[in-house]
């Protein structure tokens, strides 16, 4: 009997909740833990940043933010299996490199791009640059180009296919003949260059401590705007050839999230990027904090996707 009574009370209550759910949901958001999908294995740059961001967001939102790692295929496995199909209720969001949203899906022939996600903001910028061993007979971009002209088929180490079209475009602009050495795993960058197995490589940012220790030198910046944090004086490929390889840390969610939820998350991300812990972590792994609002980031990534598609379609 008692159970029946409870049921009788519960049914109208549930109905009331259901009726007002659409209005109440956004106001009460978040009322349960949020999952932050990181589409790489635990331990990399993206993961470290996400794990610094999560506790700061937690404090602001008042609900736990749980990091879930699902690595594979340059981030496309995690985005496709956990983020795209999730409910756009704001309880599943992702922290990924923009290369997992733009270049990798194109190269792998997958049918999604930043347009198919709700972009909440960007939080950091990868220090993409062309680097070489400090022992090499050149330590500026000018010297390297001269060296590469005299010695055709310089070996360019390609970590991931994403960098191959960039390398070819730069070589073409300078009229160089190059040989591309395929590689895998960011950790192999420094040893490959130091051992002399390749002449130059494009680094996504992990070169900075090696530059500080004197093992590697930076030759050319690949940022679309602004200077590299640790080596602001190197020339920029954007200025020389109009070529860049921008990669940012993006916070995103499934398409169709309500404006209220996006606003709540946007505010949390913004405040979190200004928190002491996040800034400290970013300083340790030597990434500049680069915050963009939801609107700015959406515009930025969509433009980047359009131009990348045009380049890769050639």
């Amino acid at each position: 009997m008692a159970m029946l009574k409870t049921l009788r009370l519960a049914v109208p209550a549930a109905l009331t909740v259901a009726l007002f759910a659409s209005g109440a949901a956004a106001q009460d958001y978040p009322d349960r833990p949020i999952t932050l999908v990181v589409p790489t294995a635990a331990g990399g740059g993206v993961d470290t940043q996400a794990r610094a961001l999560a506790p700061a967001m937690e404090e602001i939102l008042g609900q736990p933010v749980q990091v879930v790692n699902r690595g594979g295929a340059g981030g496309t496995v995690g985005i496709q299996s956990l983020v795209l199909p999730a409910d756009p209720d704001g309880y599943t969001i992702a922290a990924s490199a923009s290369v997992s949203l733009i270049e990798n899906p194109i190269l792998q022939g997958l049918a999604y791009g930043p347009e198919d996600l709700t972009i909440i903001g960007t939080t950091g910028q990868f220090q993409v640059a062309i680097v070489a061993s400090a022992d090499a007979p050149y330590d500026t971009w000018e010297d390297f180009v001269a060296y590469a002209r005299e010695n055709p088929n310089t070996r360019w180490y390609a970590l991931g296919q994403v960098t191959v079209p960039i390398m070819n475009a730069i070589a073409e602009a300078e009229g160089l003949e190059i040989a591309i050495v395929p590689g895998q795993g960011g950790a192999t960058l420094a040893p490959t260059l130091i051992a002399g197995d390749a002449d130059v490589s494009i680094s996504g940012g992990i070169h900075t401590p090696f530059v500080e220790s004197g093992d590697l030198v930076v030759l050319l910046s690949l940022l679309s705007t602004g200077d590299l944090m640790a080596t602001p004086d190197v020339p920029s490929a954007q200025e020389l050839y109009g070529i860049s390889m921008e990669n940012n840390l993006v916070i995103s969610g499934p398409a169709g999230m309500s404006d209220d939820v996006v606003a709540a998350l946007e505010a949390a991300v913004h405040t979190a990027t200004e928190s002491e812990r996040f800034i400290e972590t970013m300083d340790t792994i030597q990434f500049p904090v680069a915050y963009r609002s939801s609107a700015d980031a959406t515009q930025f990534l969509n433009d980047q996707a359009d131009s990348t598609r045009a380049v890769l379609a050639e």
């Binding site: 635990a42 496309t76 070996r155 795993g185 950790a187 420094a190 040893p191 051992a195 090696f210 340790t284």
Partner: protein, 507 residues
């Protein structure tokens, strides 16, 4: 004197000793659970270290890594279900010993070999980090290709009775390892359009399936037939602690050279980024068997087999940290996870670490040596406790192992997909074992195949325009490889044409 004071002040505090011991204990327990290994243990433990001070946090993580590597031997020896590929050779001799009632002795040998391997490699890390890292960095792609081909020839040494069956399963391993995106152009290979295998089949889920699940099914079958035959379905294993389980001075003298060799092999292989514990323990096992006067006694319960595998397996851990500490390059999966732990505590692994955080580094070295000693203590005392696993009725053991195998495959194999892989390779493993195909060469093929492919393809581009004499290290390894191949061919020819042929057909 100051150095010693710093080490003592940082690492021999009650707080730190407790955390290192907790790490070892936790690692040992997780390692001793079939299907779970160090990567799972360390990945789960990283969030637990948030509130600790850096020295204790890293000591705790190192303790977990060391403890679980040693703990893996327990399930490998007692129930023939290694938690990781690197403990497979331990099971090859450990399980036969356990069946002879010498399980405790096998575990003792394992823990002694683990501790010595680990302890010596830790000193290597402390004193030779800088010079060894410079050597490791000079090992380029061409040298790596030569070393991998050399390691491949151990397949032949490990293929058991039938060389052709060993080669067949090795080739199946290589073919399955080619699943995923091809490295140079990104072409899909054998993916059938499924995104989940773009990065290849998950090794750990597959290895647990092929080793632990298949073994449980085989043991289940054995129990059923025992029951049908009117005998009670009791475990045939028996845990004696009497005379025959004592490790004598003679035993120690027998395994001492093996342990020394295992430590060198593990220390050397751990130094080369990406080669890892599995290759080290197989290589050490293969080498010991090849050098033995009585190679046929291996696989039937030779304590040298356990000593070879375990010393190399544990020596890899400190050694794979050498390139991490000196250059910021993690030499193994576990080193990469530790690197994440470092970063979380505000320390960037790499060349600047020693200069910027000398006190932390001394404290860490102290903790690592402490971990070696504690590992021996906890392993030795805990042995009786862990050994009770074989007194568990088979019904519970079976369900427990399957349960933990599913958990391990889920954690390390990309969620539910890992569980499917576990089931499929459980079935594959069952048939491999049933028809006497070597699952060992299968796993080695799977691990080395893709690395070798990448190294060879890179080398072909790199060597353009250079002379063969630019690569003396590669030449040396090439000659050794040829020597091994000739020896194996010679002994195979002798075996086929020799008088032993009829004996072999009879058996």
């Amino acid at each position: 004197m100051d150095t010693i004071a710093v080490v003592v002040g940082q690492s021999f505090t009650l707080y730190n000793v407790l955390f290192v011991a907790a790490g070892i204990f936790l690692g040992y327990v997780v390692g001793a659970i079939p299907g779970l290994g160090k990567v799972t243990a360390a990945a789960i433990a990283i969030p637990l270290t948030y509130a600790m001070n850096p020295v204790s946090a890293i000591g705790f993580l190192v303790g977990i890594a060391k403890g679980s590597t040693a703990g893996n031997a327990v399930s490998a020896i007692l129930i023939n279900t290694p938690g990781e590929p690197s403990s497979v050779p331990t099971a090859m001799d450990g399980y036969p010993l356990a069946r002879q009632g010498k399980g405790v002795k096998a575990m003792k040998i394992a823990i002694i070999a683990s501790t010595i391997g680990d302890f010596c490699a830790t000193w290597l890390l402390i004193f030779l980090t800088a010079p060894l890292a410079n050597v490791a960095v000079q090992i380029g792609k061409v040298e790596l290709a030569a070393i991998l081909i050399f390691a491949m020839t151990f397949i032949a040494a490990l293929s058991g009775k039938s060389l052709s069956k060993g080669l067949i399963s090795g080739m199946i391993g290589i073919i399955l390892a080619s699943v995923g995106l091809e490295i140079e152009t990104g072409t899909q290979r054998l993916t059938f359009g499924s995104l989940l295998v773009f990065d290849g089949l998950p090794l750990i889920a597959m290895a647990i399936g092929i080793v632990a699940v298949a073994e449980m099914v085989l043991q289940f079958e054995e129990q059923m037939s025992l029951r049908k035959g009117g005998e009670p379905g009791q475990k045939s294993l028996d845990l004696k602690t009497g005379e025959e389980n004592r490790v004598t001075g003679k035993d120690l003298a027998t395994v001492a050279p093996t342990i020394a060799r295992g430590t060198v092999v593990g220390g050397g292989i751990g130094l080369l980024p990406g080669l890892g514990a599995a290759i080290a323990s197989f290589a050490s096992y293969g080498l010991t068997r090849r050098l033995s006067k009585d190679p046929d006694s291996f696989g039937k319960g030779n304590i040298k087999g356990i000593a070879a595998a375990e010393s190399a397996d544990n020596a890899v851990i400190p050694s794979s940290l050498i390139t991490l500490f000196a250059l910021g390059i993690p030499g193994s999966v576990i080193a990469a996870i530790l690197a994440a732990g470092f970063t979380m505590h505000g320390i960037i692994p790499g060349p600047l670490m020693m200069r910027e955080n000398p006190e932390f580094m001394l404290g860490l070295f102290g903790s690592m040596l402490l971990a070696s000693v504690l590992m021996l203590l906890i392993g030795w005392i805990g042995m009786r406790l862990f050994a009770r696993v074989i007194t568990i009725p088979f019904t519970f053991l079976f369900s427990g192992v399957i349960f933990f195998s599913v958990v391990g495959a889920y954690l390390q194999g990309g969620g539910v997909f890992g569980v499917y892989i576990l089931v499929v390779f459980g079935i594959v493993g069952y048939f491999l074992k049933r028809f006497d195909f070597s699952f060992v060469t299968f796993i080695i093929g799977f691990i080395i195949g893709p690395q070798l492919e990448l190294a060879v393809r890179q080398s072909l581009i790199i060597v353009q325009g250079t002379s063969v004499w630019d690569y003396p290290v590669a030449i040396v390894f090439g000659i050794i490889t040829l020597g091994v191949i000739l020896r194996v061919t010679w002994s195979t020819v002798k075996r086929i044409t020799g008088p032993t042929l009829s004996e072999e057909l009879d058996s």
